[in-house]
């Protein structure tokens, strides 16, 4: 990627969810439990680049994506978009940015309002940001639909009349109709059948190419991310443990977690020597993350130091960095 000012710069962003305390606990002054869904994440996304974000369920991917879009307010750190710090902007001031930053959701069933027709769903951004009338919005939507592989005759239909793949196309149309600069794709294909998944991936890649879109592409499927991303960030329990160019991550993963992910990914042709090694155990609770390196409880290569000291980020060159005691010294 060219060295230029990044479109999106995320610096040490944290997002906590406080678990509501009961009145009794409040009386007894128990401080509310806090769930660190995102714990100090930093990365850049250059204009036109696609950053893949991968990790297990519950590791904080969606939260990160939403925090970047100010759908959650960051509790710490900062997010800058196009050179402007946006994470602290009041909603009114931020509103113009909304048309430039969009999101595509995972669940094609939940992300479309079942009571609104396609015309209303796809036309909503126009009405909100361009002050279009219902008619104008519908006309524009009709123009746009063919680009996502739907036809204008679908305008008057309702989401329940579409298949999952088609719904996802509607969601994409809604996100892209205002021609945004940056789109968070939160597992846009995870819920789809393989044959449809490929259609949607192709569509997204087409748009990226045609309009020079910048994506933050979230997925739990390495194969999908590997296919679409320029760079990949691997997330574990709210932290980014490894980030680097796609090829580097897939060819020479540095973090044991990345390696494990690669090892367990189903493959049609298993390469000799890559015996499947399943990771032990489940993802620990984010309410009470392990001390030291958060991965040490499941790490096959854990050393005593991993249990006590959090590793710092080591730059492995060519934009590849990792947070692991196996690489470089701990500070």
């Amino acid at each position: 990627m060219a060295e230029m000012k990044p479109l999106l710069a995320v610096r040490a962003v944290t997002k906590h969810f406080t678990i509501r305390t009961s009145p009794v606990e409040w009386l007894m002054r128990v401080s509310p439990a806090s769930l660190k869904a995102v714990a100090g994440v930093s990365f850049d996304v250059a204009r036109g680049e696609t950053l893949g974000l991968i990790g297990e369920s519950g590791c904080g991917k969606s939260t990160l994506g939403r925090t970047v879009l100010n759908l959650h307010r960051a509790d710490g750190g900062s997010v800058s978009f196009d050179g402007k710090e946006i994470s602290a902007m009041p909603e009114a001031e931020f509103r113009p940015y909304r048309r430039r930053m969009q999101i595509i959701f995972q669940d094609p069933y939940a992300s479309l309002n079942p009571r609104r027709s396609v015309a209303e769903i796809v036309g909503l951004p126009l009405r909100l940001h361009e002050g279009a009338s219902a008619r104008q919005a519908e006309e524009k939507a009709a123009e746009f639909l063919p680009r996502v592989g739907l036809s204008p005759e679908h305008l008057r239909r309702y989401p329940h009349q579409f298949s999952g793949g088609q719904r996802q196309r509607i969601g994409i149309a809604r996100a892209l109709i205002l021609n945004p600069d940056f789109v968070v794709c939160d597992e846009p294909v995870s819920a789809l059948d393989v044959s449809i998944q490929a259609q949607i991936l192709e569509l997204l890649m087409h748009f990226r190419q045609r309009y020079g879109l910048t994506f933050l592409f979230i997925s739990h499927d390495l194969a999908v991310v590997g296919r679409i991303a320029d760079r990949i960030a691997v997330m574990y329990l709210g932290e980014i443990v490894e980030i680097g160019p796609t090829a580097a991550i897939l060819e020479s993963p540095a973090h044991p977690y990345t390696r494990a992910l690669l090892a367990v990914a189903p493959r049609l042709k298993r390469r000799a020597g890559t015996e499947r090694v399943a990771l032990k155990g489940d993802l620990p609770s984010p309410l009470d993350p392990p001390k030291g390196c958060r991965f040490h409880t499941r790490c096959p290569l854990a050393k005593p130091i991993c249990a006590t000291l959090a590793p710092t980020v080591t730059d492995l060159g060519t934009g590849h960095s990792v947070a692991c005691h196996l690489h470089g010294g701990a500070s």
Partner: protein, 330 residues
């Protein structure tokens, strides 16, 4: 791989399951025939709604009205399932043929302890004489599927376990009577990659250990290829292709299978561009007597505009395509 001359453990011919829909009766499972041999693992692949689950629920006699099941032949270990009464079929369920459901989160009863849910199978099928015996066996089973501190967790409720653990508990329940056939319906779909691998590993191990036959239902070809001996591909209620796992993957004989393979992003083929199958599977409902893959297929000709039977193409393989040979070698 099993000996072809032996009688199969489960043999089904002409299985058809019909649900009434608004549009008319839908043949959700349409004239499906297959067999599972002793000790074999049959992989069943197909996209969502293709009828994979219903096929095997039909075999178990668990399709609820208004669904209607019919078959020409349904033999299990020498017994004619079609001739059995409800009681006798219930006796087979859970004891000889067990199933793990698609979604462990919803398949375990949230209101009952794990102990109850595992022991009741054994008690119902007289595999345990007393509650104590059943509990001891349940602990054993839980240990077998890899649940730490099994004895202590016996009286916990499902929600106290993580997703992967619940999947294991469901497997433990299914295996409680040491069935001869385990139908594993998408055992990994609801799970995270790292957990997925653990569960697949577990099933493979148990299969070896208990010497049972397994039907592994999935929509992920990658999962099947590593586990299954044979693969059966379903599309829109029909079997479209069947054959030894390796061969099907390497040499698909049906355009749908080929399309699936081509559209699958795989870590091995990152350099190859993906080729999605266009369009989407037909909705359930009455279907014209045409090849069901017709409007998604790239090879469509006039010859496809009729109903196509599943034809053997040699080597124990079969395909429901007029162009089977060409597809396989083209």
């Amino acid at each position: 791989m099993t000996d072809a001359s032996r009688t199969p453990l489960l043999e089904v011919r002409g299985l058809t399951t019909i649900f009434p829909t608004r549009a008319g009766p839908a043949r959700v499972v349409d004239d499906v025939s297959f067999h599972v041999d002793e000790g074999e693992c049959l992989g069943v692949v197909g996209e969502s709604g293709s009828g994979k689950s219903i096929t095997f629920l039909s075999v178990l006699g668990l399709v609820r009205p208004p669904g209607k099941v019919s078959a020409e032949r349904m033999m299990f270990a020498g017994q004619d399932l079609l001739a059995l009464g409800e009681r006798a079929r219930r006796a087979i369920r859970g004891r000889d043929i067990a199933i793990t459901m698609q979604d462990a989160l919803t398949a375990l009863n949230p209101a009952l302890t794990v102990a109850t849910q595992i022991t009741e199978v054994m008690l119902a099928h007289d595999r345990a004489g007393s509650m104590d015996e059943a509990r001891a066996a349940a602990v054993e089973m839980m240990r077998l599927v890899g649940i730490p501190a099994a004895a202590k967790r016996l009286d916990d409720y499902p929600h106290q376990f993580s997703g992967g653990m619940r999947q294991r508990i469901m497997i433990a329940t299914a295996l409680a009577c040491r069935p001869r056939l385990l139908i594993a319906d998408e055992p990994t779909t609801a799970l995270d990659v790292t957990i997925q691998a653990q569960v697949l590993e577990l099933i493979a191990e148990l299969r070896r250990e208990l010497r049972m036959s397994v039907v592994l239902i999935t929509h992920d070809l990658g999962v099947v290829v590593e586990q299954a001996d044979r693969i059966m591909v379903m599309y829109a209620g029909q079997v479209v292709e069947e054959g030894a796992a390796r061969e099907v993957i390497e040499d698909a004989a049906h355009p749908y299978t080929a399309g699936l393979l081509a559209s699958m992003p795989s870590l091995d083929t990152l350099d190859r561009p993906i080729h999605p199958i266009r369009g989407q599977a037909p909705m359930p409902g009455p279907m014209p007597p045409l090849c069901r893959f017709l409007d998604r297929c790239e090879r469509t000709t006039e010859a496809c505009r009729k109903s196509v039977p599943l034809q053997p193409i040699g080597g124990g393989r079969a395909s429901r395509c007029v162009w089977a040979e060409e597809v396989a070698h083209g």
